[in-house]
Symmetry: D4
Subunit: 229 residues, 8 copies
């Protein structure tokens, strides 16, 4: 059993300082429901213990500004993805390229969260946006990028059919991310989630609704299979 | 206001003898929850008042046998579609062809219910079966039949992506039929139903889960636009 | 297989310039989740490539104003339907009239979205508003308009019974649009949606909750059966 | 506070011997999940303490046969309604007539449960069956019976629109009973239940799915307003 | 068949001027989703055709103020119930008293909507508030008022147990109104709604979540059984 | 950290031989989805390592018979509770009595599962059956037993109101067990579950639907607070 | 049967002045949906009748300020828990310590509501925060505090796995509190709620989503088993 | 774009003969809803075109027997997994080992489906069964096997907490498979599914309920990253 290592107990949080050694990636801060002060303190603790690059997800611009003020240089904020990053991205070194395919313009925030997460952790990423199945030729025009990827992240709301169609075109793992884009009976992403879980294409797995971070993180792990430990 | 005409009151049912004049098609018997005797009596009433060809849906083989015994010649039963028909189909005379596309072998019962309904009411039907999106080239191999149809009925369970992909390929109305085929989080057809309602392709509408009859009936109406009254 | 043609890749969107040739109608912009700048850029691309009249749905008044400023003459905005249109409507040329029946005053926004979509694409439309089934004589007073239509769009929230009653009165296709009007156990339109999917009247199909555009578009397709290609 | 009276404690059940004095009607036995022996013992206790006519609901034919054997004369069983009755019905003495309207032939079991309950408790009942809204003239042909009723029980599955349409036609209380008749997205009666709860007609209230007994009982109470105590 | 009478077609609404003659009560205006101008115009039409007292439900204070300005004297607004009334209440003349029992202080808005509706239509009302079952002696302290009522309206959120307990105490009809009061797994009133539908007490029926108006209206109808027509 | 002890690895199961020392009670066998052979093997392993009395839940009579044959003397089966027990119950030694209150005769199986579990583990149990709230005086007649209990288990289906009413009467912990008894909108126990979770009475917690074992086990733990370790 | 005592009827509320004598703890004010004036009046009534310390839950800061102004000294407000307290906490006197374990920083508000409730009622509390199962060693580092507690309250959102893991580690009752922390398919706490209800560990029961008060109250009752009456 | 190759059109199915070349694995037959004859014909077509080893999922023993009779030697059936295989498994050649961890004995069928799928496609598999989190030391005893795996498949029903705990222990991709094991509020696997989607551990993705095949297939793809094409 590996060493589970030291914890930095901040009172409101126990920062896991051995996560990088144990799992290859430092702890990631889930920003929703935390104050800017709490986020900054956790990121500072990670930095002070050499756990960078570190990510904080789901931060609005106001929180990001306060966190940036507290941390100074080295912190960058990506508003479309609502993602903050402390430290510089790793040099890309995985098996191949991670393709991020997004069905529509409204899905870009989630897609960017996935793309930036993967890039930060050291992966080459190719972005294929607005390739929803209603205009199938747009997707078919990207078959080369899809076929040469080592992992595909398929991001879609509404009926989420993109995951199944992509899953039938490629021979690598497909990570499906349902988004809350849609209206009426899309039920905040449930329709896309169910579609993706029931995909008739093999090789597709699913993360939570709007969980771009989770998809980017998992794509990184797969792309570093046999490399990252 | 049209004449709403006579009713044949059988006690357990009020047979609508003016449905054919009013709506172009005789009343259709919903067989579930009715006894074979009740179904036979309603069909006989329709026949005796010139309301044929008449259909009875959702009959298992035992009921069908009893109905056949009661009605004699002129009654046919289609076991895969669980459909009974009294009288001969009309001669096809609509605008064009109705294409019935089904995603998988397990969807054939529903697809056949749609196809036989449309044929009975006087339409040419082309069957395109096992064209699910996980093997996209199977569907793309049918583009000519799809493009030349006047209506497409898209039948699929699981994630129901077929409707969106077909909807992006054709320029005619698409009637989507979710089926209860699937397992786990398909929830008896709910996943496919939600996918189809949230289709990103325009020109798609949806009928109830497993409602092949309803799709075939509506396809007939659309295919006879300006003809059937 | 038809020519799937050129795409105008704007980075955030791939505008489908062959949609009009392929499907008879230009791409429609789904306005929710897009910035005014993105909407204006897509509409401008469509205009510059001769793809008008072009529609943008689900725009609030602020976005519409910014889009109007960007596009200049030729752009009109319809606030009740939250719909923007670039270019002039086509001359009506379908088989007949499209009747838009709405149950209550609160359903008018969705009904107008359907009506304006159909008028833009070249159809005669008759509006029958506040004809909910609780005062049945209001609906029965419109039977002539309903009976002479080639397609009926039935728009209703709450219990959505309008679709079934209309479906029993006419012999043409009925497109049911559930609306999110209601409270308590209407669950944002789910009650009306389920009613319409389970309609005991044949010839009824359903689009997504509040999807007036989808209903108007499909009604156009049906009304141009054998004409529009 | 009224006298809450004696209880006959059978071990597996505490029979409420004061229910008739307190609430005007003896305890009713819910037959599902009880053995024939338990049902017979409770009914016998009620009979032995003068609490008849007594009802037992939701008994299949096998249980009914065993109960009949145990109780001897005075017990009658109604198979379509799955209802058992011990003792003779009361003489009808309410304000007026209770109309039981049922949408389709498949709803008759629930409708009969309501009708027999009301008749047993002393009410005149008129049965209006197969009057679903898809053939509106069948319902409109019954307007006289509906208008002259003191209470209407509206029984329907599928989309349950009957309750709203009846509610708009009459000026008396309407008790809506959703049934589990239907398929696909009817979800065992949920669609009809939601429709009825969201009825746009005032004066409509709802009981549980398939609860014919509850509707008949409540109709009796309303019809005896100011009489039965 | 009764006379279904004239309609005042305002364009956005068809005011039913025969509702009072046909159903004993004028049309009631559902205020949500209507502008103040629309509400005032409908109420003015009702007043000008002698259809008062008239009610408008679900109006916030701003709308109410604008409606009051437009209509002048004779319009009253009840903020807790969010109810507007034009004209004077009828003189109470039903069989007996309507008891409105509410479980908690947070349920009072819905309870008042029921109480004011019933008073407006001509009924004596007794209010029994904060009698939830967690302090059973508070409810038992009201047994006399409950027992002497001709109808009880039971208003409760959270687990909605009040309806069942009241249903077991009285021998008159009980109308249950679930409210959206609660948190967590109360799901906006669904928990209370399901409880009430599944009540083990006979004689209970249910209206939509928060539908105080519907309960008050139905209580009026029951309390005027054999009187109001 | 306590000793987590040895495991008996049977291949299909890893029997936890330190559970009794660690948690005061041996592992309990969840019988559903296991063969009789597997159940018997696990029970034998527990017996051979001194871990009795041992329980196996959710066994039908056929499985129980096979298990009894395999284990010989010392195994008892309780068909109403579908519970098997190997070894003799402990001598009762908790703080006080555990009262098991059940709403109706149909809930007895679940109630017995709770009662037998608690008795096996060493508790005095009093059974209060058929005390549903629709006949409140039946429950009020048991107030002495309820008030003198150290824990109350409240078992109810349908609307589950029993938990709230009991919760308001006693000053000890109440464990609510929803049952799947009911029909229509009871949804297999969901209605009762939601009622119990939303109980307006403090001191009530909830276990899974039909989980009599869990309630009996937890009641034992509470009744042995400060005793059992 | 105990004395159910006097009530202070404030019109909008019936304050239960015998709750402390009957149930050991005064009535607790549910602050949501009540005005500051109503809350203050109820608390004042409790104070004036010697029913302190008294709690009011779910108050935002503005309400709390107004209540503090009205009540003067003796009122304290805890913003993270949104809890107000009138009077001084009781001296701790239960069997042992109550451990409050919370999975993440975002769950602290609910955890504090539980902790403060238990402390107010006279219990020693140990707080174990940020011990979610994704970093298992953080939880395992707290095994001593958990093992020596007499009750554990496990507070978690997202997948709620904390309750099962804790349940397997301890031999005392575990009260699980699902929180609404999470996104996507957490559905406002439903995911955590279902996890906790289905916990494979025995001895776990569940309260409503975010119901920290209920958990703290029940923990108090269990910790005072045989003491508090 | 790759060659999409020939199809063997059997009428009821279009067998995709290029799937192995295109995606590295032959088409897999979904056995539910197909007759034994259909399954055998598809498998024979695959064999005749060199597409083995071929799998057929979800076959009961009767179907399997008929398929075995039709295909002769080379067909093997695994009853616990309900899986049929034609041809010999590939020689294991992936990056490392696939660990299949299952929470309980009742989950073994699904776990075996995953394990056999992965073995057939050429992977080393280690089985870790009955390691549910309620007895955490059983899981912790397997940390070495888990840590040295290249992919972990976590199979669990009930509350599905296994996925989160495993996800926190390892640094490789985790594929979570919810199973339908459980009762009450497990809702056929929905509880486990939601838990897994909301896992607080990064690197976890989810497949459909009971979809052991999908998990095994995806694990194979990940384990052959950079190898299998």
């Amino acid at each position: 059993m590996k060493d589970y290592g030291t914890i930095d107990n901040l009172g409101f949080a126990r920062v896991d300082l051995a996560r990088q050694r144990r799992q290859g990636v430092p702890e990631v801060v889930y920003g929703a429901g935390k104050t800017a002060g709490q986020i900054a303190a956790i990121l500072a603790s990670l930095r002070d213990h050499g756990q960078t690059p570190a990510l904080a997800t789901r931060m609005d611009e106001d929180k990001a500004k306060a966190v940036a003020d507290a941390l100074g240089d080295g912190f960058a904020y990506f508003p479309e993805a609502r993602l903050g990053r402390l430290g510089t991205p790793r040099v890309p070194d995985g098996h191949g390229t991670i393709a991020i395919a997004a069905a529509g313009t409204s899905d870009l925030g989630v897609a960017e969260e996935a793309a930036l997460t993967a890039e930060t952790l050291g992966n080459k990423v190719v972005r294929l946006y607005d390739v929803g199945v209603a205009g199938l030729h747009r997707l078919l025009g990207c078959v080369d990028e899809l076929s040469s990827a080592s992992v595909v992240v398929a991001v879609a709301g509404m009926e989420g059919a993109l995951a199944s169609v992509v899953g039938g075109l490629v021979d690598c793992p497909v990570i499906a991310v349902p988004t809350s884009v849609g209206y009426g009976a899309s039920f905040g992403g449930v329709s896309a989630l169910l579609s993706m879980l029931n995909s008739c294409a093999a090789g597709v797995s699913v993360v939570n609704i709007d969980n771009g971070f989770g998809a980017g993180f998992l794509a990184h792990r797969i792309n570093h299979m046999g490399i990252c430990r």
